[in-house]
Symmetry: C3
Subunit: 132 residues, 3 copies
């Protein structure tokens, strides 16, 4: 298992981590298999989505705020229930395919850490299984 650290800048933010995940995959020396990217945090999710036009990430963040607002009626006292809920909607981990030592991604796909309660320093965990 490999870990890397990122620093987020906003409360809600998508930060691309594709090259960091690729570094971990390369380090594992697995040629054909599966990579799991996991957030060990309960207010940070992982997804893959378009990484060419940054407006896609902005629209995603913005619409998630509409779907899950910071309601005063939530019971959890830290006032970040919205952040936790978004993580279970987007997902705390992501599985992708590895081929010839490279993460398999479509032309427009990048891997993103989805910060929902930043700015914070965050850990990302990566594990790769398969054939060497």
């Amino acid at each position: 298992m490999m870990e890397f650290i990122i620093q987020t800048q906003q409360r809600d933010e998508l930060q691309e981590i594709t090259s960091l995940v690729q570094s971990a995959v390369s380090q594992s020396r697995v040629r054909e298999g599966i990579v799991v990217v996991q957030s060990p945090h309960t207010t940070l999710a992982i997804t893959a989505n378009e990484h060419v036009d940054a407006d896609v990430a902005r629209d995603l963040i913005g619409h998630l705020k509409d779907l899950v607002p910071q309601k005063s009626t939530f019971r959890h006292r830290e006032n970040n229930s919205d952040s936790h809920i978004k993580v279970s909607l987007v997902g705390p981990s992501l599985s992708l395919i590895v081929r010839d030592g490279q993460i398999c991604l479509g032309t427009w796909q990048g891997i993103f850490a989805c910060e929902f309660d930043g700015p914070r320093q965050r850990r990302i965990w990566v594990e790769v299984v398969g054939r060497y």
Copy 2:
């Protein structure tokens, strides 16, 4: 593949299954790898989220009810389309990392079965792949 059984008590409920999943991981004897926790049901999802303050699970359940109500305009006749929709939003399975024979989880993370059409007896499937 290992299976365990849980009994849910409410129509909508998050039930923590971390120790049951850890038992399956220990039984597999895999030391370093990946665990997949899968729901074989179409109205039960799997997620990881905060397990210390139970209000987080309550807020998640409550807000999902707001986002996906039991609408009379749904066409599926069993009157549980909301349950099915919530499963595809939260996810029918979850992949996590295993290190030194232990599920890798952050300080606040627990694994939850998300019941959306209970109370029912439910099966949970676990598979582990990696190095022994």
Copy 3:
């Protein structure tokens, strides 16, 4: 890694791909392990849900349109931000368990490609890891 091609017919559509994924699993000769089904597209998601009553898929598609409409206020200029957002909610990939060479699925479960910006020709990637 195996790839297959599907043709979708609507802008929003769930197309069942269970038998195609099973073919890839059989071809891999893995008997016990994990299969990852991945969309290389940023407007196509993967899920497992009920495949017996097609109204479940219709209700899912319809309700996702309500939750994430094609808003004119989105910034991404291709007018398909709703499609991208739905992918991060449903998920760009899905992990399932393989046992005795078969995908483990519950009685009511099928695997679906979730088209959110069709009709298009789409690729689906499948990788299997485990014991032969």
